[in-house]
Symmetry: C2
Amino acid sequence: MTDAPTRSGDDGSDRQPIWTRPERGSRGPAPAHSRDAIVATAIALADAEGLAAVSMRGVATALGTGAGSLYRYLSSRDDLLDLMTDRVVGELRPYPEAEGGWLDTMLVLARRQLALHRRHPWLIDVIHRPSGIGPESLAWFDNCLRILEPVGCAVTAKFEAIAMVTGVVSLFARSEAAAGSVTFAGVDLAPYPHLVAAFSQPSAPAPRTDLFERTLRGLLTGLLLAEPSDAG
Amino acid sequence: MTDAPTRSGDDGSDRQPIWTRPERGSRGPAPAHSRDAIVATAIALADAEGLAAVSMRGVATALGTGAGSLYRYLSSRDDLLDLMTDRVVGELRPYPEAEGGWLDTMLVLARRQLALHRRHPWLIDVIHRPSGIGPESLAWFDNCLRILEPVGCAVTAKFEAIAMVTGVVSLFARSEAAAGSVTFAGVDLAPYPHLVAAFSQPSAPAPRTDLFERTLRGLLTGLLLAEPSDAG
DNA sequence: CATAAACTGCGAACGTCGTTTGCAGTTTAC
DNA sequence: GTAAACTGCAAACGACGTTCGCAGTTTATG
């Protein structure tokens, strides 16, 4: 607690983010594991048993070690979640060319994001935290800017549009994941006349894919193509 | 653990949701607190010190009692969060009449939701969980259906539109709350050419309110007014 | 009015969590 | 060769949600 310089590799380096922190020094014995192997194990665990299974003890047990040992490679569980997020974002590669026009290409990217959420359902619970921007996320963002290059509007509008697309994709992913989990069991619906009227009406299945595409197409054209003549 | 009928009021009633569970029986002494007072205390605590301060011990301390005592009124912390959510949703009342047309009225409702998020920043972390639908949320939903009554489209489309509006509002709320928390400190931006090009460009402040309104207006008209002639 | 059932608050405990710490052993720089 | 820097590991710490047992209080029932 005084000023002992021990643990300079992991413990003392809380200043710089996990992305630029060196994995190990050059002095001691070879580590039994690697940061990448830990992250891969954690992702496999989350895919199989959900995010709740990704505890320090859980990941450590899957690796055949103790919980405290993980702190030789990571400085916190949040770091692990950040690494997991960025690693699966890398699955969005390779990025498509913008051959079919920027709007269609953005839709392809959005659909790939949605597929990523389906592949890793825990992503939806992890993506909405501060300080979770890693190299792969930056690359994805950079690629979106590349796709939007032919669009002649302010960069701030592009930033907003990209963020909104990502957000809407997460909304769809959450809606898919939560499908059927809402229930009105034991609740008296009598005080809600419009609800019971809606429920008593025959409902068509309503294709979801169409909603996804229509929503994003309308969003992007509205945000990027609208003339700012009368705004403000 | 055999079949002792004790604690039938709180403990044994895990079956039915918190909304319909009776607050107390008729036998014992008068409770020192009430479910409503506990929820109000928890909300005040969350408003002041964030959701992390809303622990059973934290709420109990604010009430001058012990953590275990809270389980006489609630059966879990999740129940408490559900009650908190539904209570603040009640702040959206009274609901406006649809005098200015359904689109403008829906925008008013959306703006009120955004204001609610600004008033209770913890709401964004609590609203995206399963099983959080209470009477006030139902009333809000019912009111949205009332506003959308003159719109002649399938009820499923209305359901989707309402959910999407709520979701987009939460996106804006989250974006506002996370403003300035993302940082590229210590990260080399060289591998992201389009990003550095965007950052080197002069950026206008870009009015957010306009983005909010434009996004929702485009969303609602696109989802509710589009003709389903060529779909499918 | 007596009795028993159903309630009350409360403090101690349980198990799990993220994280810290001390220690013994290993490798490398000087 | 020595010391610094590293390694893994087990134990512990504090906080969390939750359970449990107990003593006391109120009410329904006879």
